[in-house]
């Protein structure tokens, strides 16, 4: 193929092959950005058994070198995207607007093309959630974007969050019953207040034990007790406020305290207008995931997202994670979102945290992923230049110690000795 030099072909074959053992790698990089605040120049990251076994300067540990050596400009931890949209209408059971116990893991397809697309942009861990057509859609799962060809084998944390939505997504497409109700869309809420009422009803029913036989009760109990974080989509200011006020209601109303269910933990997803309410989010200690930065201000639901949103929130002490919503486009992928956040005022370290350690923390998997530290999963991204600059790209992605994406060419990006 004439364009071979600039064609990046994936290393995976279509017919499933024997799973490669977690390889041992020595990665020599000009820059190692560990994400712990300690960055190193001209250093080595050693990978063994699927985990990072050492991070050291060149001179030491020469004797521990493995046979396979990768040389690249920069290494960071694998990116974590807590807001990908990799599911479609088959992931949400719309016959009932509140379905807390349904698991999105049951609907995921390990053969879907989305995973490879995410891999090519350096994303190694994602939160997959049901489509936001239900008020409460079900249980999201944290999984790696590569690995053995089953969802179970890639799962980092099953039933990790309870996913729901405010705003117009759960009410879009519903209609009042004209004459005779013709389908269940006539029973579902058609307005924002209807959506919010469903949330409160679910919570109050749980606290007052009105939903004893409901299969979703146990999940709601765990969520209200704070054992299961609640990820709630809210694009506009009014929806963000509604979500925060709902949480404060649960925290303060005696019905919930009496039942011991007054400690819910909220994370707001796609909080485009969070820049308008930083104090509100700070005082309620609500974490936030931002949607992709829109080029000229307006994004979905006509929400206006300022480019300094991440900085404004960070300055108020709000935990901010960035998201690409699963896009692999050069101008929208997660790595370049971090660049945009820097254009909006974040430092490199802060932008790095916003796409690695902070989303890992929000998902509760920070002990395994999010930084380059000895003992953590060997999820690494190899860069041809300074990460997050559009002038650099992802040339390799390692997941659990296995090189899952090789994007370098014979003349550019990285070199490897096997």
């Amino acid at each position: 193929m004439t364009a071979a030099l600039f064609t990046a072909v994936l290393a995976l074959a279509a017919v499933p092959v024997q799973e490669p053992e977690a390889r041992a790698w020595t990665i020599q990089a000009e820059r190692v950005y560990t994400g712990t605040g300690r960055n190193m120049e001209r250093s080595i990251v050693l990978v063994r058994g699927g985990q990072v076994s050492a991070v050291t300067a060149n001179a030491d540990e020469e004797k521990e070198r493995t046979q396979d050596v990768l040389r690249v400009y920069a290494v960071t931890a694998g990116l974590v995207d807590a807001g990908v949209r990799v599911t479609n209408w088959t992931s949400v059971e719309q016959s009932n607007e509140v379905t807390p116990n349904l698991r999105v893991a049951d609907t995921l397809d390990p053969f879907a093309l989305d995973w490879d697309r995410l891999l090519r942009s350096g994303v190694t861990t994602v939160l997959a959630s049901p489509l936001d057509r239900n008020v409460i859609g079900g249980l999201g799962v944290v999984l790696k974007t590569a690995g053995p060809e089953t969802i179970a084998a890639r799962t980092v944390k099953a039933d990790a969050v309870l996913r729901g939505s405010m705003g117009s997504d759960p009410s879009a497409g519903n209609h009042p019953a004209f004459g005779r109700p013709t389908d269940f869309y006539s029973r579902r809420p058609t307005t924002r207040m209807g959506v919010e009422w469903e949330w409160r009803k679910a919570f109050f029913d749980t606290a007052l034990n009105h939903n004893e036989n409901d299969p979703g009760r146990a999940t709601l109990v765990a969520a209200l007790q704070g054992k299961l974080p609640i990820f709630i989509q809210a694009w506009t200011t009014q929806d963000i406020r509604t979500a925060v006020f709902l949480r404060e209601e649960v925290q303060t109303r005696p019905e919930f305290a009496a039942a011991g269910m007054n400690k819910p933990r909220f994370v707001i997803d796609a909080a485009a207008e969070a820049w308008k309410e930083p104090q509100l989010l700070a005082r309620s200690q609500t974490g936030v995931i931002l949607p992709p930065f829109p080029p000229a201000g307006r994004t979905r639901e006509n929400a206006f997202m300022a480019w300094n949103t991440a900085k404004v929130l960070k300055d108020q002490g709000v935990a901010v994670a960035l998201s690409s919503h699963g896009s692999g486009d050069l101008e929208q992928r997660l790595s370049v979102q971090a660049g945009y956040a820097m254009a909006g005022g974040l430092t490199f370290e802060e932008a790095l945290a916003a796409v690695t350690s902070i989303p890992a923390m929000l998902l509760g998997v920070q002990d395994r992923v999010g930084t380059i530290e000895v003992g953590k999963d060997a999820d690494l991204v190899l860069w041809s230049g300074e990460p997050f600059q559009p002038g650099a790209r992802v040339v390799g992605t390692i997941v659990d110690g296995v090189l899952r994406y090789e994007g370098w060419t014979a003349v550019q990006g990285a070199t490897v000795e096997r």
Partner: protein, 362 residues
Amino acid sequence: MLSILLALAAAPALQNDGPLAIRAKAVWTGGGKVLENAVVVVDNGRIQAVGVDVAIPDGAELVEHDGVLTAGLIALHGATGAVGETRDGTRPALPEGRVGLAVDLRHLDFVALREAGITCILVTPDAAGITGGTTAVVKTAGGTVLRDPAHLSLVFSNEGLSGNTPPTSTSGALALLQNLFAEPRGIVAEARAGKLPCLFEVREREDVRRAIAFAKDKKLNGALHGAALAGEVAGDIKAAGLSVIVPALAIGTPKRTLDAVIRLQKEEIPLGFGLDTPWNHAEALRLSAVMCVRAGLDRQAAWEALTAGAARIAGIEARVGRIERGLDADLVMWSGDPLDVGSVARRVLIGGRSVAAQEEVR
């Protein structure tokens, strides 16, 4: 006196109700065995004798066939005779629905099946909701229902989902399936007890995995239908002990799909071919097998999948699928090698009666 009836005659069904003897240049009895210049004796709708030195009984009509004689083909998965009756959209679970009751056994569509050498067909409900009911095996002539119910159909593909009625999601469908099997009654209880095999309707490889997981959990057996690339997860299917019904393959089927079928056979997973009538023509059944053979499938395995193997999947191996004494006289006289697309079915017998005949063109 032996009346020699030329196989070339354009006569309709053999009128003689007495014993019939067919001497064919090659007789495929099943299991890979081919008998040259053998005789098959048929009486009272059954095969009485098969062999090279078989004695022809007195009064029997002798038919000389200058071609190949085989058991009738068995198509798995179709809606012949029940078009429009295979989907009830009023509820997601209708396990007691019996499509066998809806088949019009005199429907004209059966003629095409007979002429293609197909003597049995598994009629199946649509993949709608979580179960559309049970399947039934019918003969393509004579009004015989061989087995009803034959399987309980369970849906694991997105085809079962709808935008308007529950379930609208894969997880919702799984929840409904769990409920259905939580306190099983009637047909579901039979399936749960392993007495009734299931037909798992799938499409993607991940659907196959979900179906297998469910089957393991509820200790169900049966066959998977609908996934063109099922062979790429053949290891999982083998471990679960399920069979696979390969969907009808047209000309132009991608190599990847054909390779997947071959992988199934290499893992020794029982195979059959589906036909999805009336959307596919009856000849597509044999063509599916030919496409696989061209791509490298073992000939004998392909033939098994059209006959004895299919009979096992349909649960009718005690009646049809091989040329063996005691089995029904469902036979096809081919003009040549049936795995050659140029061959046609000269004459087809079901229960010993001729139900289709085709003149040779000079």
